[in-house]
Symmetry: C2
Subunit: 301 residues, 2 copies
């Protein structure tokens, strides 16, 4: 660098909540190694790093609507429509489902479990309708609904509208059903919605308490989260036993990393999970939510 | 993936010019190997991948102002101020200097050498003042001006305003001075401004004619551009002879890659350039501009 006659420049503005949410999407996918997922060093078949870059670019307009105070459902649907402007398919649907209410909470200056629970409690039937519409923009891997809940299968998309309106189901109620289904796999993201984003807030504290480059912190957090709870996407695309086994493998590696901070053991696991097709996408969604909260609370990049 | 009762979802909107510009920033830094620069696989000392992510997030508001028709200088200064909301220092100042007029041209439906030349020709003294102000947000590596041009040293920042107004110098005139200085290193980005972005448009054609993932295309393009012309930043931070040598080294590797498409030879060069502190940043700026044009012209991600 050449000499400079002025003192070093300092940033004179902060990132907005919508900007921090977009950055969280980018930092999440950049963290490495994140066993089984696309990361800075790994692509999957047909789902590559650049698809996540483009997904994050396209999602921003919807995130800005959440910040501006538009209804959660409207903002979410727009974010997903923008995310879908790339060829990789579903890159960040689950991340956005967590980020949109968190951005609303941050924009109302109450980014806390209570604050985001208020946003969740205020969702309406219209929000639920928009949520279902979002499934029309991109193919999302979901399990089959129980036979008696077929009318509320998210794969019905906009066709579910009449049922939602008849039964007067706000988006929060849809999340309650998904978080605690009569049968099948409870949805990890829906569980965040109904628990005041409990795991995301706890994870954000871990990110802030950790040290070193944010990419390494993200990798360590991802393993901890995966170790602590089976991943919904792995359970959906494989089965519950596989999801438990994946988490047990992650736990073994996480313990070794906790002992010395060295991520090498996770590199091996990453190769293995990619080969086996274990893709813990719901855990990545949670990591993105945690990154957002940490950025809002001062995580420096 | 589970069965889906609907046909595969397709994206139902296009990216805007501002979105494509942000994506170009992200794709540029994600391309690997890009010898001497931060890329998907390499960080420099104190300048890491995540700083480029945050820079691209912060720059977007300024890029949207360019798209909306705000003056080039205003949009550029806002983009740089946003880019500076991270701890790595100057990540994408030069990229933005190229992208802002290109976004303006794209937003007026004339993204062509003639179209962007019209945008350049229409710049005012106010644009020049804003351009100088942008240097206050971040430390940019620039060479010393000739003794008689000290009043126009960009490092003066806002203090240059009175000189700019007295001499009635629009931003296009500042670029002409930098593109063809009485002494010292001609600025590669300023040369784009005064030549209708000649190299950027040619490079965009190359990206579109190439095949494979966009990250590989970007890496090949970067080497071609570096081989074809010495990098301004290397000449500024080292000297003209070093910049020529760096380009000769790149040319040797680029020839091998042209023969078989294999990027392995560039990996070795990347390690070597990083170790030597050769950082061809101006060539990266040009690659970002080319990516933007290619995205606008249909490069699929």
């Amino acid at each position: 660098m050449s000499d400079n006659t002025r003192p070093p420049a300092e940033s004179d503005r902060d990132r907005t909540p919508a900007e921090n949410a977009q950055l969280a999407l980018l930092l999440e996918v950049s963290g490495t190694p994140k066993p089984g997922n696309v990361d800075r060093h790994r692509d999957l078949d047909g789902l590559r790093f650049e698809h996540f870059m483009a997904g994050a670019v396209g999602a921003a307009a919807g995130l800005r609507r959440a910040e501006a105070g538009d209804p959660v459902g409207v903002a979410f649907e727009e974010a997903v429509a923008g995310m879908a402007t790339q060829q990789g398919g579903n890159t960040q649907f689950g991340c956005l489902l967590l980020l949109v209410p968190l951005v609303r909470a941050a924009a109302t200056d109450d980014l806390s479990p209570a604050g985001v629970s208020e946003i969740v409690a205020a969702t309406t039937v219209d929000d639920a309708v928009q949520f279902y519409r979002a499934f029309e923009h991109v193919d999302v891997a979901v399990g089959d609904p129980p036979p008696d809940a077929d009318a509320l299968d998210v794969r019905r998309g906009a066709a579910a509208e009449s049922t939602l309106r008849e039964r007067e189901l706000p988006l929060a109620a849809i999340m309650e059903l998904a978080a605690d289904p009569a049968e099948g796999v409870p949805d990890g993201n829906a569980r965040e919605w109904v628990t005041g984003f409990d795991r995301a807030f706890t994870a954000a504290d871990k990110l802030l308490a950790d040290s070193g480059p944010v990419g390494d912190r993200t990798a360590r957090l991802f393993l901890d989260l995966l170790a602590a709870q089976p991943d919904t996407l792995v359970a959906t695309t494989h089965d519950a036993a596989t999801a438990r086994e994946v988490s047990q493998r992650a736990a073994t590696v996480a313990e070794r990393i906790a002992a010395d901070g060295d991520l090498t053991a996770a590199e091996e696991l990453a190769g293995e999970f990619v080969d086996a097709g274990y893709n813990p996408g719901t855990t990545a969604d949670l990591a993105a939510a945690a990154l957002f909260i940490a950025l809002e609370r001062g995580l420096s990049v």
